[in-house]
Symmetry: C2
């Protein structure tokens, strides 16, 4: 592939002149510029994006970090971010942090080295200090990293309240709330949903038990085992609140055991992705607006990158989607 030296030689000018002409970084006499442009065209010269970015100290790349794409909530969030970023001229690096050898530190180093211009993180890892100390543009989804890192999240408090209202209205006496163990340290804002759900249930005279699942586990086998465990260990539960994938496993497992849904067991899925809406019978869901979450996260990050002062990001909407598993 031709480089700028080849173009300069072919046009009979120095490299600096060719560079000024092709990058538009200084004066070049019109006839010389024409000669250089013709040479570039003839030689199929393509300016090095790497070199140009080096000059501008920007890469045009944003890293999006999620635990796993096998979870439809994160897949949807990632795709929405990718499409929005593309509209702003940015490409998206994807980093799945579910594996133990995950590379969050790598990406923070890339941010420091200008190989990425910003990071959107939705991971559940615990190394918050590394994020806080970065000092570069970072926006967090659903995880309070502290410092001055903006936090984007849904109105989980309302989400939990909505779930409790529907369980109570459906006549539940004991609701099992399944949530990730990482909400226990207050990191994850989705913990708000479980807190507000539990408070509202207790206030309505409905019992609530909280079951914590293992940290950062998102696989089929684990979900299936957890669903079976819930039905074994909490036979008195007549309501279950769980994230989409787990709720689908609970539904499958309950049907296999001959439970009548929703008569004997009410299920509410938290997230409300398209995948949850594929269940038969249809899952009743608390829906997070992933499109709004992505838009808010991207807008906030771009403002950080451009050093524009921004107000606190708005809390994103949640809504109730009536299915068959809970009236």
């Amino acid at each position: 592939m031709a480089n700028i030296k080849d173009v300069a030689r072919s046009a009979g000018v120095g490299i600096a002149t060719a560079s000024r002409a092709l990058n538009g970084t200084g004066y070049v006499a019109p006839e010389t510029r024409k000669r250089i442009e013709e040479a570039a065209q003839k030689l199929h010269y393509s300016p090095s994006v790497l070199a140009r970015n080096l000059l501008r100290s920007r890469s045009g790349i944003i890293a999006v970090m999620v635990p796993t794409l096998s979870n439809p909530f994160f897949a949807s969030f990632t795709q929405d971010c990718e499409q929005l970023l593309l509209g702003h001229g940015y490409k998206t690096l994807i980093c799945c942090t579910v594996q133990p050898q995950n590379s969050e530190q790598d990406y923070l180093d890339m941010l420091r080295s200008n190989l990425v211009d910003g990071i959107l993180t939705a991971t559940h890892s615990f190394n918050d200090d590394a994020y806080r100390e970065s000092g570069n543009p970072i926006v967090s989804l659903d995880r309070n990293l502290g410092g001055n890192i903006p936090l984007v999240s849904s109105d989980h408090c309302r989400g939990g309240l909505l779930a409790a209202e529907h369980f109570a209205f459906a006549g539940c006496r004991m609701v099992l709330q399944i949530c990730g163990s990482d909400v226990q340290n207050g990191h994850l804002t989705v913990g708000e949903a479980h807190r507000s759900c539990r408070e509202a249930l207790l206030a309505s005279g409905v019992k609530s038990e909280i079951l914590f699942t293992d940290w950062n586990r998102w696989d089929f086998t684990y979900y299936r085992r957890t669903a079976a465990h819930c039905l074994d260990a909490y036979p008195e539960a007549d309501g279950i609140l769980a994230s989409d994938c787990l709720a689908m496993h609970v539904l499958t497992e309950a049907l296999q055991r001959g439970k009548s849904i929703p008569d004997e067991l009410k299920i509410i899925a938290y997230d409300g992705t398209d995948t949850a809406r594929l269940a038969s019978p249809a899952l009743s869901c608390i829906v997070q607006d992933t499109a709004q979450l992505a838009r808010t996260a991207v807008d906030t990050l771009l403002a950080r990158i451009q050093n524009v002062p921004i107000p606190e990001p708005p809390v994103c909407n949640v809504s109730w989607l009536q299915g068959t598993t809970c009236p």
Copy 2:
């Protein structure tokens, strides 16, 4: 942030010397090197990855292009690739081409400009010439791009045969095969599955109809409408073969209409992702081995990047997963 000029000034050496010392690209007297390294440490100097990559003419980035992450097959393939590439020191750019303003040409330009070192493409777009003319490392999943671009795919011929055998064994008289319209031009190797399934069905005296869905449509609303259309337009069909997401919609729609599954209608899902395995009743599936597909694609691409001669990539495994929707 300190740059190499700051380090050179602090160490009292020229920029070229500092660069030689820090990049290990030439001789520097030991005591001078020590002084430079101390200055770098004191100033928290982090070498610019952009600059280093420019020298090596590589970016350490691979682009993975898929139609959409909302399809669990592509989400799984993308994540498997990302994890494997990470193990080889590469980061993954993600490009979802479902949108009309998709940016495949952008990524090909990035490849030409060394901003990405290679492309794994699983898109369904038609601009094959652009890929063929690229001349840079590209590997294709399931889409025959022609030229010398390696093609990685499952043994779809066997996949189709397996489906036909199970439909015939289950006593089906008329099977509806739903597939994307883009298989019609012979582009997509998954067309092989439908061809071999149809041939085997006809040879067993089972009727087969093929319904082509719109090109590049992957959304919930379209799937739901298509599922309803299939049951409306082909009331005599007692077997349906469709990709995972569509199969789940067909199942949901059929159950809502009071169809008895599998007595009145047998359903086989093609792909067999974890999502399909969440259906109730459990979908019978032809399973593509996404982990093997990702490994084969990544190995082939890395060999192309390193200019290692490679044999044709092996055809990847498919297998039958017994569910409830077809015996």
